[in-house]
């Protein structure tokens, strides 16, 4: 059973696809598309958190960069959705490229803060400084071109496209983490000094991981813009960082499935729980506290432990 969970990407992907399709068509296709895109965002965040052990409190910068990269492209160049996505990713990658060298030299508290600083600067830029182009607080509304059946205005197509992107990113992450590069990242997370002493340029690896993280997050941002049809500073709002941090934590940092589970969990909570519990943000804070104190491995970690216990119990029973 654990083997299936661990090794079969196909199984996990199957679960994800089936799960989301069922969810979308029993609840709301629009909303679930949102969830799917958010999961991509969490996957991007988790590169840094789960796999490199660095927590960033300013990741909405990259989500917003992707959003505005796509929006500006659509508004001032050509409203082609694919070009917009490319521009969004490019924006995220570019930020990762220039902020990376500064950020990856640090860890822990310093890393968290540096990202906050850049997040605040970015937020100011889109909210005020370049308001003439970005529309300031109101943001910009957009419509994208459609080409035959490739019509992002069609919610079914949009959903299918986003779900496909999620699967693609998921698979990419899976391959990445299983590769030599991924193992290197784990080594750095565990004990960077030792890896450095083995002769590896850890800063270069961290930089690359940083760029991957920002690019994937930016990609999610561009998808959000295509989904909503607008971009506003809320995408880059520093206060909203708690969303992705919570999602990564509750799902279980360090696993791709955990990122998806966490992302879905957060989205479900914020969309549905908010209807029933007025003070759901307090609930979020309390949940974060509980996680920090006792539930560190998140849902996937917990599931993994349960399954491992069951396997051990079975093995011991078999021995008798």
């Amino acid at each position: 059973m654990l083997k299936i969970l661990n090794n079969s990407v196909a199984f996990a992907v199957g679960v994800i696809v089936v799960g989301f399709v069922v969810f979308a068509y029993s609840a709301s296709v629009n909303k679930v598309t949102d969830f799917v895109i958010f999961c991509i965002y969490v996957l991007g965040f988790d590169v840094l958190y789960g796999h490199m052990g660095r927590i960033s409190f300013g990741h909405t910068l990259y989500l917003g960069a992707g959003a505005y990269g796509a929006a500006m492209c659509a508004k001032y160049l050509v409203p082609d959705p694919f070009l917009a996505m490319a521009m969004g990713i490019a924006a995220g990658a570019f930020l990762g490229l220039i902020i990376g060298p500064i950020a990856v030299k640090t860890k822990g508290a310093a890393f968290a803060l540096i990202n906050v600083a850049f997040n605040q600067i970015g937020y100011f830029i889109v909210l005020v400084a370049l308001a003439r182009y970005t529309g300031g607080e109101d943001g910009v509304s957009l419509t994208f071109n459609s080409y035959g059946f490739v019509n992002f205005g069609n919610i079914h197509f949009l959903f299918a496209f986003c779900l496909t992107c999620l699967v693609a990113v998921y698979y990419m992450m899976h391959r990445l983490y299983g590769s030599a590069f991924g193992i290197m990242l784990l080594g750095i997370k565990e004990n960077e000094t030792r890896v450095r002493f083995l002769g590896y340029n850890t800063s270069a690896y961290k930089w690359v991981a940083f760029i991957i993280s920002t690019s994937v997050s930016a990609f999610a941002g561009s998808l959000f813009v295509i989904n909503y049809g607008f971009a506003n500073p809320g995408f880059m709002d520093p206060a909203r960082n708690v969303e992705v941090i919570f999602a990564a934590l509750i799902g279980g940092p360090g696993t791709e499935l955990g990122a998806v589970v966490g992302g879905t969990a957060y989205m479900v909570i914020s969309n549905y729980l908010a209807k029933y519990i007025a003070r759901w943000e307090m609930f979020l804070g309390a949940a974060l506290l509980i996680i920090a104190f006792g539930f560190r491995k998140g849902i996937m970690g917990y599931v993994r432990e349960l399954v491992e216990k069951r396997i051990k119990a079975n093995a011991m029973a078999a021995e008798k």
Binding site: I55, K107, A109, F124, G285, A286, L288, L289, F293, R296
Partner: protein, 277 residues
């Protein structure tokens, strides 16, 4: 021109009062204590709540407000910081962030999400080189200098202060002398928190208070600590006043950019002096 300087020193003074506690916690425990912003907000809101109790007397209300915030910081220290510090700094940061979240929401619940005004307790202005500067602002500047001097004496002359200075530089050596350094760091934490609530109290009448003020001040504290150095008392003072001036000057030309400019300075400092933690 003098108005800008006065404003800059006022903001700088408040930044210093609030940041010093944050810097000490950061320097001693390497924890980014987001909850520091909560104590700041609690100070301000406690002032607002207690002013009627104190029959409008600002000083009494301020003292009561600081006292009211002490249990909050004590609980944070005992149940969050101490539990997680040393075991996992990342989770301590997350937990402190969670505390701030919960606290902010509680404040919203009790007092609502709209900003609340507190009137200038002094009300009079002083004429200075043909300009009118509110006396209250001068009091703040004076108080911040007073606190700076007091803290300098404290850390240079008192045994607790010397232990903390030593502990900030070399925790293990202090332990090897038989001193339970964590106990002293806890004392410093409470002191820093009391100062944070004082900062919130002082800031109230300058602007309106709102539930999210805690988030804002914490991010500004980050900048001060990065620019001034963690746990570095003099550095925190210099950085506070400098950044206060940056804010004032920026606000003069482009009001909305004041906060963001601080982060630009912070980013520039980081590029030329990357911190290794």
């Amino acid at each position: 021109m003098f108005e800008v300087i006065a404003y800059g020193l006022t903001i700088g003074g408040i930044l210093y009062i609030v940041s010093i506690g944050f810097s000490l916690t950061f320097g001693s425990m390497r924890i980014v204590n987001f909850a520091h912003g909560l104590v700041y907000a609690v100070g301000a809101y406690a002032l607002f709540a207690l002013l009627p109790v104190a029959k409008g007397n600002f000083v009494i209300a301020a003292i009561l407000a600081i006292l009211a915030s002490l249990p909050v910081s004590y609980v944070i220290e005992k149940f969050v910081i101490r539990r997680l510090y040393g075991k996992s700094i990342d989770y301590a940061i997350i937990a402190s962030y969670a505390v701030l979240l919960i606290g902010v929401d509680l404040i919203k619940w009790i007092w609502g999400a709209s900003p609340v005004p507190i009137s200038d307790p002094v009300g009079t202005s002083v004429s200075f080189f043909a300009l009118e500067i509110p006396l209250y602002r001068l009091i703040i500047i004076g108080l911040s200098f007073l606190i700076f001097i007091s803290l300098s004496i404290f850390f240079k002359k008192s045994i607790i202060g010397k232990i903390v200075v030593a502990g900030l530089a070399d925790r293990e050596a202090v332990l090897s002398l038989g001193i339970d350094i964590d106990k002293y760091f806890a004392i410093v934490f409470i002191l820093g928190s009391a100062l944070a609530s004082l900062g919130g109290i002082l800031y109230g009448p300058i602007s309106t208070i709102h539930p999210y003020m805690g988030f804002r001040i914490v991010t500004l504290c980050f900048a001060v600590v990065i620019v001034g150095g963690m746990g570095n008392l003099r550095g925190t003072a210099i950085a506070s006043y400098t950044l206060g001036m940056v804010m004032a000057v920026t606000a003069w030309y482009w009001g909305a950019a004041a906060d963001a400019m601080i982060f630009v300075v912070m980013a520039v400092v980081l590029i030329f002096r990357p911190i290794e933690l």
